[in-house]
């Protein structure tokens, strides 16, 4: 089922990196909605988790945008000529990772198994998304929060919480 961010919250929720990034970055299309959602999660004491893969995604986007902002170059090009360029994002990455741990977000180990592969075909998910779904289900989460429309195909398996109007039509 597709569920609005403003609807009743579950007891436990798998947070996709898109929600965390939108709340963190002021320019995110869904910044206000994701910020309010994180506050509700905190206020209602919802147990939250994400896969370690999300940290990779969050760090990547933070570093990529910082490097682009400072050098005008894409991350990999800048990194190949000057690996130190990623240090510009260190403060943001450290701060956000620390905040995520302090807010009690559980970081789940990515354990690739047959389920993740099956979700590629069964739900027509891209590999990273199929890993997120597999980790969430393996840890018995029945709800995922995301702004990524690709997760619409998983709504038979989990409740998909979102604020993305494209998914709520």
């Amino acid at each position: 089922m597709i569920v609005r961010f403003t609807d009743k919250l579950p007891k436990a929720l798998y947070l996709d990196s898109s929600v965390i990034l939108n709340a963190t970055m002021t320019g995110g299309r869904f910044h206000a909605e994701c910020a309010s959602f994180l506050r509700r999660i905190r206020d209602e004491g919802v147990r939250c988790a994400t896969a370690s893969l999300s940290l990779d995604e969050i760090w990547y986007i933070l570093i990529k945008n910082k490097v682009k902002h400072l050098t005008g170059q894409f991350l990999v090009k800048s990194y190949k000529s000057n690996p130190n360029s990623i240090l510009s994002a260190r403060e943001d990455v450290e701060r956000i990772t620390f905040d995520l741990l302090m807010m009690g977000l559980e970081i789940l180990t990515v354990d690739l198994d047959a389920d993740a592969k099956d979700f590629l075909w069964d739900c027509k998910l891209l590999p990273r998304d199929s890993v997120h779904l597999a980790v969430a289900l393996k840890h018995r989460f029945k709800a995922i929060a995301t702004t990524n429309p690709d997760f619409m195909s998983t709504s038979d398996l989990v409740d998909v919480y979102t604020c993305n109007p494209k998914m709520l039509r």
């Binding site: 990196s17 898109s18 965390i20 990034l21 939108n22 709340a23 963190t24 970055m25 002021t26 320019g27 995110g28 299309r29 869904f30 910044h31 910020a35 994180l38 506050r39 905190r42 995604e57 990547y60 986007i61 933070l62 990529k64 945008n65 902002h69 894409f74 991350l75 990999v76 090009k77 190949k80 943001d92 450290e94 701060r95 956000i96 620390f98 905040d99 995520l100 302090m102 807010m103 891209l126 990273r128 702004t147 990524n148 429309p149 690709d150 993305n164």
Partner: protein, 78 residues
């Protein structure tokens, strides 16, 4: 916050420079953690509020950036 390069340990306590302590308001709660860079002491804040909007950025499509990560990397390399 002022960065402390060195701290002393005396009888099981960590001795911090007076200037550092003076930089904190009275009754400020702090969080102490040890990471690979050393001892980190930060005033205690609500982590959710600290996280929200902490990166000022231009308008961006985060979903697209996450989706297109692989292609973007490839196009940058080759």
């Amino acid at each position: 916050m002022k960065k402390i390069e060195e701290v002393e340990i005396e009888e099981g306590y960590i001795k911090l420079p007076v200037e550092f302590i003076r930089g904190l308001k009275p009754k400020t709660k702090v969080i102490v953690r040890i990471d690979r860079f050393g001892l980190v002491i930060k005033p205690k804040t609500d982590p959710v509020e600290d996280l929200i909007g902490c990166v000022k950025s231009a308008p961006m499509d985060i979903e697209k950036q996450l989706d297109e990560r692989a292609e973007e990397d490839d196009s940058e390399i080759y």
